[in-house]
């Protein structure tokens, strides 16, 4: 695999930031976009634009077909059973809110329990918190150990007859922990408890097979998978989408509207109210094609090699501490430098056009557990190289120099 060739497909890397070559290490936040995706947005708006599913004219028929093609590609990409199980949303956050809201409305009563973990992003905690506020549900947190791994035996102990759903991330956006979600789903299903997997970070880094996982719900953000912003995906088993009530109401999601009665559209339209991000969904098909052209196996092995290289190099720098040491780790490395706050690290690295993220990364529960206010985070995409890691390490040395560290 030729990374330089892949990198050249991303127009942003031909731009200079602060007069320097961009070293983009913030892909867990959002990935950069290949030209094919950007061009598809452009060409759709220029030559093909129309809304979908509403009109008879040629443009609308074409747009509707193209929109449907992306749905088919997503189905194949995550190995779903049918395209009815693929719902387009705004992002993974909306996907999780959709499940929390509709599942909660139908299945959660006072005292019922929702089991999540200490690794969760706020987007897989706050939507469930609404059920705690509005329905009197109880939220339990499966603990992590010092390495940043979820302790499965402890998670199992927290399951009881009141547990109504388990929501867990597939890959931590802080420690890079790859969570054994299949094992958790097996445990949950033996007790007839459905599982939602937050796949926001895993979708760009791992092979996703929802059939193999047997998860009930899987949430993805398109913009982290080399796609446009404004596209999210909710995979849900058909039985849930048939059984649960609709989420948002409006045009497109109805079958018949009378003054005294409304019936809803079939799947997947039942969950896609109003005008959808048409151009973005259509362009997202190019993101999937891009991922497939690289090959998930190649992507996984490239990022693993890069992560190991970075971990080795970072460990040799005085006063750098890596956060967590999970058994299985993907291309996300959070660290601290003794004596330098992560915000200062990020500002100083930016001077060298090294883009990282600093803060709590929307994981305050996890940072509280780690007894850290904030961390600096490096996250990789397919376009990163060992040279990027070398520039990062030099920039960190500069950071130590600014702060007069020995």
């Amino acid at each position: 695999m030729n990374i330089e060739n892949i990198k050249s497909q991303f127009p942003i890397f031909s731009k200079k930031i602060n007069g320097k070559q961009l070293v983009y290490l913030d892909s867990s936040n959002s990935s950069q976009k290949p030209a094919s995706v950007i061009n598809r947005l452009d060409s759709f708006y220029k030559n093909e634009f129309s809304n979908i599913g509403r009109s008879i004219h040629s443009l609308s028929v074409n747009a509707t077909n193209k929109f449907d093609e992306t749905r088919m590609s997503v189905k194949k990409f995550i190995n779903a059973n049918s395209k009815e199980e693929i719902i387009f949303t705004k992002n993974a956050t909306e996907s999780i809110n959709l499940v929390a809201s509709t599942f909660g409305q139908q299945n959660i009563k006072t005292g019922d329990e929702i089991l999540i973990t200490e690794l969760e992003h706020h987007s897989n905690y706050v939507p469930w918190h609404y059920l705690r506020e509005n329905k009197g549900a109880v939220i339990k947190f499966a603990p992590i150990n010092d390495d940043g791994d979820i302790v499965i035996s402890e998670l199992e102990k927290l399951i009881n007859s009141k547990t109504k759903i388990i929501a867990v991330t597939h890959l931590s956006n802080v420690t890079g922990t790859i969570v054994p979600v299949k094992e958790i789903i097996d445990i949950a299903h033996k007790k007839n408890i459905p599982v939602l997997v937050d796949g926001c970070q895993s979708a760009p880094h791992l092979k996703i097979d929802v059939k193999d996982l047997d998860c009930d719900f899987y949430a993805i953000s398109g913009h982290k998978v080399y796609g446009p912003t404004g596209v999210g995906i909710l995979y849900a088993k058909k039985k849930w989408l048939e059984q649960l009530p609709p989420y948002m109401g409006g045009g497109g999601m109805i079958s018949e509207v009378k003054k005294d009665k409304i019936t809803y559209a079939q799947l997947p339209e039942k969950y896609e109210a109003g005008t959808m991000p048409t151009a973005e969904v259509i362009a997202f098909n190019e993101s999937i094609k891009f991922m497939e052209s690289v090959g998930i196996e190649n992507l996984v092995s490239h990022e693993r090699e890069l992560t190991n290289y970075a971990l080795e190099k970072l460990k040799t720098i005085n006063s750098v501490c890596i956060v967590g040491n999970p058994k299985n780790k993907a291309g996300v490395i959070s660290f601290t430098i003794k004596g330098v706050h992560p915000h200062d690290i990020a500002t100083i690295l930016d001077e060298d056009a090294v883009a990282i993220r600093a803060g709590h990364h929307c994981c305050q529960i996890l940072h509280e557990k780690l007894k850290l206010n904030a961390t600096a985070r490096v996250s990789f995409g397919i376009y990163n190289t060992k040279e990027d890691v070398d520039i990062l390490c030099k920039a960190i040395e500069n950071c130590r120099k600014v702060f007069n560290l020995k």
Partner: protein, 156 residues
């Protein structure tokens, strides 16, 4: 933009060894400030005496070099000032950070002006302005005895 303008020695020094850290005895005003972007927090303790003079001003909290240094310098400059003068210094500081205006007040001596102006480089780093201003907003909140906590996403 030169990093040295942002991370001047005086800022690094105050960031590393902040003055007036801790809870002062006999404080009669206090407020907490949050920066939800990074999770940093500052707690300002203030003792206003009967003449409405800032007799004590201390803080507790964690944060980056910019925020700790800014808070430390604030406590040094505002301590011993009258209520009105303190308010004036805060207003001049916030205006310097936001608009780049000069520090004109006669209530600070030359040394103190150099200290407060060492933070002026922050204006060039929009993402860091909140780091520098949080504790100053929190001080105003403590002085005005506002009940709610200060949140950098709410104040401008």
């Amino acid at each position: 933009m030169d990093l040295k303008e942002l991370y001047q020695d005086i800022i690094l020094e105050h960031g590393k060894s902040p003055r007036n850290y801790g809870k002062c005895l006999g404080y009669n005003h206090n407020a907490i400030g949050h920066n939800p972007l990074c999770g940093d927090q500052v707690h300002v303790y203030l003792k206003l005496n009967q003449k409405k003079m800032v007799e004590e001003l201390t803080f507790e909290g964690s944060g980056c070099a910019i925020s700790i240094a800014s808070t430390s310098i604030m406590t040094e400059l505002v301590k011993g000032k009258s209520f009105q003068t303190a308010k004036k210094i805060v207003a001049e500081f916030l205006s310097m950070i936001k608009t780049g205006s000069k520090i004109a007040t006669k209530d600070l001596n030359e040394d103190q002006k150099i200290k407060i102006m060492s933070l002026s480089g922050v204006k060039q780093y929009p993402m860091r302005v909140k780091c520098a201003t949080l504790s100053w907003h929190t001080l105003v909140s403590a002085m005005d005895k506002k009940i709610d906590d200060v949140n950098t996403e709410v104040v401008d």
